[in-house]
């Protein structure tokens, strides 16, 4: 069989810093960490010559070779297991799920092996498990998942999800350097969103895992959210501002372990909270956030805690169905108006 590829293709090495979308920021972060640390390597399906389904690993194989960019069979169990084994040997794997929906096929090894290894015998697993999550892109029930709630009840896994290019780069670098397993969720709708293109610093920086970010300060009400819903919150806040409501927005960035201090500080300031997330409502992270607020900031509350989330169905395919499924700006606005009335 001929070894000549159909298309001669060599991807450009990313700039260090400069204008970047979210996907470019992640690629920059992985690239820089691979340059900095020879133990960092990439493993996953189609991550090599093809550069990954969303081109996050594009060009890595040309720069770092097959030895550090490992294409695997369609085997999430093998990907997670091999990443764990390599991590035990002192390597720092960055494992890709082609879509985060397929994380279910690696669930056993993630929750039983990666998460429990340090606890059981002191052997940390410094591995990153990343992939595209999220709905709103008309991809149907199997390419739209937000998986955080599956893992929140598993001790031993850190979970991060950026909503800006700056955070995407800083968090992937922090995740790679972290001594414990990190699930790194990338909302696919944000990958190439022009709105998120921004100038990144050219120096080496990280965004600390476990720290939320105040997107916008406000007096009247706090929206606690993360991922693509940060944009929904910003748009809703703009509309509400016209009505004289001053909204504070907290982007969690890290979903486990949660930045309780930032959550409580904001709620104690505004006394009202909306918990906004894209995964289904029941059993979602909103319930956990509500419990924290109810237990630890009850005396500061002036109104019920409101969850705005997707409905309790699989993610549907057809645009009108998916739009109904997802929380929309109007849903946030409506919830805020209700709270403002207290």
């Amino acid at each position: 069989m001929s070894t000549a590829l159909k298309k001669e293709h060599k991807s450009a090495r990313p700039e260090r810093g400069g204008q970047a979308t979210l996907v470019e920021a992640i690629r920059q972060g992985i690239w820089e960490e691979m340059e900095r640390d020879p133990t960092v390597f990439v493993i996953g399906e189609d991550v090599g010559a093809y550069g990954g389904a969303f081109k996050v690993t594009d060009g890595l194989i040309d720069e770092f070779g097959k030895g550090r960019v490992v294409d695997t069979p369609i085997s999430e169990g093998a990907i997670v297991g091999a990443a764990c084994g390599a991590a035990l040997m002192g390597m720092k794997p960055v494992a890709e799920f082609q879509f985060i929906d397929f994380i279910s096929a690696g669930f056993d090894l993630l929750t039983n092996y990666a998460a429990k290894c340090r606890y059981r015998w002191g052997a940390g697993i410094p591995a990153v498990f990343r992939g595209p999550c999220g709905s709103g892109v008309r991809s149907g029930p199997f390419h739209s998942l937000n998986a955080e709630a599956f893992f929140l009840n598993t001790a031993g896994l850190k979970i991060v999800e950026p909503s800006t290019a700056y955070d995407a780069k800083g968090l992937i670098k922090a995740a790679i350097r972290d001594p414990d397993p990190v699930l790194y969720f990338e909302h696919k709708k944000l990958y190439r969103l022009p709105r998120l293109r921004e100038e990144l610093p050219s120096d080496d920086y990280i965004v600390e895992i476990g720290k939320a970010r105040t997107v916008k300060e406000g007096r009247d009400l706090t929206i606690i959210t993360f991922g693509a819903m940060v944009l929904t919150a910003i748009d809703a806040a703009e509309e509400l501002e016209k009505e004289g409501l001053d909204i504070e927005i907290i982007d969690l960035r890290t979903l486990a372990p949660l930045d309780k201090d930032a959550i409580l500080k904001s709620v104690k300031k505004t006394s009202k909270a909306i918990l906004l997330h894209e995964a289904s409502r029941t059993g979602g992270i909103g319930g956990e956030l509500a419990a924290i607020i109810a237990e630890e900031a009850f005396e500061w509350l002036d109104a019920p805690i409101i969850r705005v989330a997707s409905i309790d169905t699989p993610v549907p395919y057809s645009p009108p169905l998916e739009d109904y499924y997802l929380p929309q700006i109007k849903d946030v606005v409506e919830a805020a108006r209700k709270l403002a009335a207290y």
Partner: protein, 398 residues
């Protein structure tokens, strides 16, 4: 009890194989000549169980490169394994063991013989019934006793049980309860070793039951594709908890499964400790020199139930007794050592006395360990320099 062994026996010459592949590569893609066999099954049965001659007690294979000293060390490990387990049963009956006790009675030779063929830098990941392999890799009985009794001085500090721990320096990675999961983990160990330019070989143990899992398939397939030096030792002990092999798989010999991964296989008499050593030594040498993954099926028999509580009501009458009388790995090896004048009975007794002394000492040490402080449960989920321990919060006081 023994059936006739019928295997398609075709150990392909590696060079011919390469030439064939080159020839094929020169042709148009995806075209297969009609003369080309669909697949080649490569199963080496040289050291498979032989049909015993009538009334002739079984011994071990004469084909060995091991010297007397090594053979006696093997004997020490066999006895150590059996006697540590017997002590664990005593502790269990005294209610000092917190969970269950899982015996490898009757199949100790597989774990001991295969692990003994490895070098110090090599890795193993055992199953619960591979205590012998764990001891060969240098784990001390005291660690095992402390683990079973959930003591603070055990390697997991009471956080996990039995051989569920690891020691990277000794090349021992403990299993988890989910069978098959360790195959992909070992694949990762070897992938990393290759990146680090180490010529590490690894043995991953699996059973007739564990081979039914998806993780087993995913791990071995990936190892085979990457041509990693992974030796999968499939212990065919006939029962997975209570389920007999015929309800587990439709193949007759577990070794047949190797064909599905394009890797060679061996069938070995799992109750012949010398044969287990020799087969693994050969497989390890081949794997180390670039031969890729290999499957070894060790035919053996589990004489005890799944754990001490199991009454084995699912086992045919007389079956366990047959194996005990006719095919006990320790008896067979003792006969071998005595017949070949490698040791006298007195010498063997001396070894057993030393083993018993070690077990007494280690058991006392483990019994003297305190139980862990409850609060320790909150520590070490993450690196606690970065994430605080998960201490129980006080109600409405944070």
């Amino acid at each position: 009890m023994f059936t006739t062994w019928r295997y398609i026996f075709n150990v392909m010459d590696q060079d011919t194989n390469k030439r064939e592949r080159k020839k094929q590569a020169d042709k148009k893609p995806r075209e297969q000549s009609a003369a080309e066999p669909r697949f080649q099954m490569r199963v080496n049965t040289r050291l498979a169980p032989a049909t015993p001659a009538d009334d002739q007690p079984l011994s071990c294979t004469n084909e060995t490169t091991l010297n007397s000293e090594q053979l006696l060390e093997l004997y020490r490990y066999l006895k150590l394994t059996r006697l540590v387990e017997e002590r664990l049963v005593n502790l269990y009956r005294q209610t000092k063991v917190v969970g269950g006790v899982f015996r490898s009675l009757g199949q100790e030779a597989t774990a001991v013989g295969t692990a003994y063929a490895l070098q110090p830098g090599d890795f193993i990941t055992p199953l619960i019934r591979d205590l012998g392999a764990v001891l060969v890799k240098g784990i001390k009985p005291r660690q095992i006793f402390a683990q079973y009794m959930a003591k603070a001085w055990g390697p997991s500090g009471g956080r996990d049980l039995n051989i569920h721990f690891g020691d990277m320096d000794k090349g021992f990675i403990g299993p988890i309860s989910h069978l098959g999961d360790m195959i992909p983990v070992m694949t990762g160990i070897l992938l990393a070793a290759r990146m680090q330019n180490k010529d590490t070989v690894a043995v991953a143990y699996i059973g007739d039951g564990g081979m039914s899992t998806g993780a087993f398939h995913e791990g071995l397939n990936f190892a085979a594709v990457q041509r990693l030096p992974l030796i999968v030792v499939a212990e065919h002990n006939h029962y997975a908890y209570s389920t007999p092999t015929e309800l587990q798989t439709a193949v007759k010999d577990l070794a047949e499964k190797a064909a599905g991964y394009g890797i060679p296989a061996y069938i070995v008499d799992g109750n012949d400790v010398v044969a287990c050593y020799e087969v693994t030594k050969q497989a390890a040498d081949e794997a180390r020199s670039g031969g890729g993954a290999v499957l070894i099926e060790a035919k053996t028999y589990r004489r005890k139930g799944h754990a001490e509580h199991d009454d084995q009501r699912y086992v045919a009458e007389g079956e366990v007794e047959w194996w005990e009388k006719n095919n006990d790995p320790v008896d067979r090896f003792e006969k071998y050592l005595l017949d070949h004048s490698i040791a006298t009975r007195e010498k063997l007794d001396e070894i057993v006395a030393a083993v018993n002394k070690e077990i007494d000492d280690d058991c006392s040490w483990a019994e003297s360990s305190p139980m862990p402080d409850g609060e320790q449960a909150a520590f070490r989920v993450f690196d606690n320099e970065i994430v605080k321990p998960a201490l129980r919060p006080r109600v409405l006081e944070s």
